[in-house]
Structures are given as structure tokens and as C-alpha cells.
């Protein structure tokens, strides 16, 4: 099974942070991770940005209540607490997620986000693009393109899974 290891991910996050620095505007910057995994990536990116002298607000949102497939699942997923301790009005927000595939999660995330306020600008940035899009939503930045991967793509992060790896 081909994998990306801890060093690959570290390198990717550094480049990702560079990209954010390059694109930073006048507006206040906020990184909003999607629970779970996206929030961990957002936290790491913020740390990387701070090392480069750029400060950004941290937020995490649980998009479960906005999913469009809740009736299709045999059981209701557990809810997690969202954390958005700042007003999103007028902010430059980056939605951070681990894997984008159909685009349905990203759609739910946008809907979730907009019920907190009216940000000036929203970007979508992901660690992995898995392809197989079902909605017209495309990330503004992707660290790894694994559109040809067969089967599942799983992202493991130390904070949750004891290791940093992308399995596919």
C-alpha cells in the first residue's frame, strides 16, 4: 500500500503555509477546520504561520447537522462541538479539510459557516484531492492530488491516530 509518511506531510504543510502567506490579504485571517482532522490541520497551519510572523484565528466546525445524507445512513452520527470564538463578518476565512472527494462535505461546511455571519472571502484548502467530484466545488489549494488512487484514501494525524500518514 503506497503511503505518504510523516516527512511528506510535514513538507506539504510547510508549502501549504507558504501558499497562505502569499495569498494573505488586508482582511483578518481565520482558519476553520472541519471536525475531525481538518481542525487538526488548521491548528498546525496556524502554528506554521505564526512561525512566519502571520497570525490567524482558529476555528473548528462540525458539519454533521448540515449533511445531506443523514437519512441514508443507518445511524445518526455523534455531534461534536463547533468552536468559532470570533465574529466571521468581514473576515478572510480558509476552510481546511483533510480529503475532498464528492464536494458534499465542502457544501455542508459552507452552509454551516454562513450561519455564523458574512465573511468577506472564503477559500477551501485540502490536504488531499481524491477526485470523483459530484458538486461544482473545487479547492483553492491542494497539497496532494490522488485522483487515481484505488479504494479509500485515509489521512492519519498524530493527534488523533498516533501517526502522520496518508494511506491509499
Amino acid at each position: 500500500m503506497p503511503t505518504l509518511n510523516e516527512r511528506d506531510i510535514q513538507t506539504a504543510l510547510d508549502q501549504w503555509a507558504e501558499h497562505i502567506v502569499a495569498g494573505a490579504s488586508e482582511d483578518f485571517l481565520g482558519l476553520v477546520g472541519l471536525i475531525s482532522h481538518g481542525d487538526v490541520l488548521a491548528r498546525r497551519l496556524i502554528d506554521a504561520l505564526e512561525a512566519k510572523g502571520i497570525s490567524a484565528q482558529y476555528g473548528a466546525i462540525d458539519i454533521t447537522l448540515y449533511r445531506d445524507d443523514i437519512d441514508l445512513r443507518p445511524e445518526r452520527p455523534a455531534l461534536r462541538s463547533s468552536y468559532l470564538p470570533f465574529s466571521t463578518d468581514g473576515m478572510h476565512l480558509i476552510l481546511v479539510d483533510d480529503v475532498i472527494r464528492s464536494g458534499r462535505t465542502a457544501r455542508a461546511a459552507l452552509e454551516t459557516l454562513f450561519e455564523y455571519g458574512r465573511p468577506a472571502r472564503v477559500e477551501l484548502q485540502c490536504l488531499v484531492d481524491r477526485g470523483h467530484r459530484e458538486l461544482p466545488l473545487h479547492p483553492d489549494y491542494v497539497a496532494f492530488r490522488l485522483e487515481d488512487a484505488k479504494g479509500d484514501v485515509r489521512v492519519h494525524l498524530k493527534e488523533l491516530d498516533k501517526e502522520d500518514a496518508v494511506l491509499y
Binding site: L65, Y66, R67, E75, R76, L79, S81, E115, Y116
Partner: protein, 307 residues
């Protein structure tokens, strides 16, 4: 959490289900802080409130919860005169089946009626209080309120005071609190507190015993004069013997005890006026948490109509 159709009692839930519903209630409460206090989760689902007993508070709480989950709410109005015998419950069930409701929220003066409806309906049935039997959504909001106040329920000591005999609140709330590791005791008039051999819950005799027991929470039940056919106690005695008087409030304050009440409060009976403004009075928190707890309950039930 495995798919569950109905919520009839706390006893019927697993520990995992209790924790899941409580945890989700926290997430539900966060919705209240957003500028849009609503999520689209139950868009297109229909919720029916079927109250055979008048209750503005519980019904509104469920209705707000359903609205915040974007469900459509219908209120089924029953003139109590036409609903005397149990047969009409069966006829009502047939009507409800034809309406293709997804969730039915029932309150009835007879213990066990929601279970009868649940057995014969595809909809998820939520017991919003049946006789002196169960009131599980109240139990969740109470547990949620205590957990929010103290961070956890385990090892908290809660005295429930008043009409235990007629109280579904006492039953369901004491069950959930004990399942979550709390200690529960009862206190009230002898005619209204069944012996502890029946309840499995110790009975304290008076306020001195309560203070000696060192409770974290004092939970006062509403005196339900309207449900009591022949008098169980002299009403004039109640405040003096069992209520929170000004003097007792000072001791409650000194021991840093919280006060809870399912509402509506009879001022001057269960609680003196000052108790409502007491710093550890959680009555308003209970109301707010009731909406979150009921949203969580609605979210976690899966009607058979959907499969």
C-alpha cells in the same frame, strides 16, 4: 448510536445512548449562539405534538427544538372532553398513521399511553410525560444542566423534594442521574414519598437531614394540586415544612447548593421569591437546556417511516 425509534423511558436506553444524547445536546446548544439559530438537519420531516394534558412549557420547548432543526411542526389539539376513554387513543393512532408523521411527541395523563402509540406507529414517539411514569426529555435536560454546572454528574448528590408519588419528573430524573453516577435522595410528606423499599432511593426526613447529607443540588418538584383528587397533605403546611424558605435559602447559600425546579414554580409554596434570584438557581438554565436536549433527542431518533 444504533438506530432507535422511540424514547419512552430512560430505563430503556443504554449508557452509550444516554451519553451520546447528552454530548450532542452540548453541540445543539451552540446553535443558539449563532446569528442563524437553526440547522437544516430535519428539513422536510414532520413533527406532531399530541398533548392530551395541557402543558405550554414542554410543548413550546419541543416545538422550538423541532423548528431549530428545520422540521415542520403540527399541533394536534384535543378537546379533553372527547378523550375520556382509552379507545379513542387507538382511533387517534389510526389518524396519525394516515398523516405519515415522522415524529410524534405525546403527553397523556395515563401512564403507559406513549408506549401503546409507539407500538402501533411507524413514527418515532417521544414521551413528553405520561401520568406518574416517565418524562425522559426532562431527565436529559436536568442531567445536562447539572453536567454543565459541575462539569460532570458522577458523585454529585441530589435531593428531590416534594410529590414523588405523582411525579414522572422524579422518576425519570433520578434514573438518569443514578445511571450517570450521581447519588439521589428523596424528601417529602409521607403520603407523597413511597417507601425506599419500593423506590430503591433513600428517604430523608426533613431539611436538617438534607443539610447533613451535604447535597450539591436541591431539586424541588412542583406541587400538583390539580392532579390530586383527594388531599394527600395539608397545603397550608407545605412551604413551612418542605419549601425553600428565606431561612433555608441562607443555609443553601452557605453550603453553595444549587436549586433546580421543573417549572412552573409556585412562588411561596416550593420556593420563596428570593430563591428565584439566588445565584445558584438553575431554573432558567433548565429551560434553555430543555430546547438543546430535545433537539438532541429528535436528532438521535430514527423513525421507521424513513426506512
Amino acid at each position: 448510536m444504533k438506530p432507535r425509534k422511540d424514547l419512552l423511558t430512560i430505563e430503556s436506553l443504554s449508557d452509550e445512548e444516554i451519553h451520546t444524547i447528552l454530548d450532542s445536546a452540548v453541540a445543539m446548544k451552540e446553535i443558539f449562539t449563532k446569528s442563524v439559530k437553526k440547522v437544516p438537519t430535519l428539513r422536510g420531516k414532520s413533527v406532531l405534538t399530541l398533548f392530551y394534558e395541557p402543558s405550554t412549557r414542554t410543548r413550546s420547548s419541543f416545538e422550538v427544538a423541532a423548528h431549530r432543526l428545520s422540521a415542520d411542526v403540527t399541533t394536534f389539539t384535543l378537546s379533553t372532553s372527547s378523550v375520556v376513554k382509552g379507545e379513542s387513543v387507538h382511533d387517534t393512532i389510526d389518524t396519525l398513521m394516515s398523516m405519515k408523521m415522522d415524529y410524534i411527541i405525546v403527553r397523556h395523563k395515563n401512564s403507559g399511553i406513549p408506549a401503546v402509540i409507539a407500538r402501533h406507529c411507524h413514527a418515532s414517539v417521544i414521551n413528553a410525560g405520561d401520568g406518574a411514569h416517565a418524562h425522559p426529555s426532562q431527565a436529559f435536560l436536568d442531567a445536562f444542566t447539572i453536567r454543565e454546572k459541575y462539569g460532570e454528574v458522577v458523585n454529585k448528590r441530589v435531593v428531590v423534594i416534594g410529590d414523588i408519588l405523582h411525579s414522572r419528573v422524579a422518576r425519570s430524573t433520578s434514573v438518569i442521574l443514578r445511571r450517570l453516577g450521581a447519588q439521589v435522595a428523596y424528601m417529602g410528606p409521607g403520603s407523597l414519598v413511597p417507601p425506599s423499599s419500593h423506590t430503591g432511593i433513600p428517604r430523608l426526613r426533613d431539611w436538617d437531614e438534607i443539610f447533613a447529607w451535604k447535597p450539591d443540588v436541591i431539586y424541588l418538584l412542583r406541587v400538583q394540586n390539580e392532579r390530586i383528587e383527594s388531599p394527600f397533605f395539608p397545603v397550608a403546611d407545605y412551604h413551612h415544612a418542605y419549601g425553600v424558605t428565606e431561612e433555608r435559602l441562607r443555609r443553601i447559600d452557605a453550603q453553595d447548593i444549587s436549586i433546580m425546579h421543573p417549572g412552573p414554580v409556585n412562588r411561596g409554596v416550593e420556593l420563596c421569591d428570593a430563591a428565584m434570584d439566588y445565584r445558584n438557581c438553575l431554573v432558567c438554565n433548565q429551560v434553555e437546556n430543555g430546547i438543546a436536549a430535545r433537539m438532541s433527542i429528535l436528532y438521535h431518533l430514527t423513525p421507521a417511516t424513513l426506512s
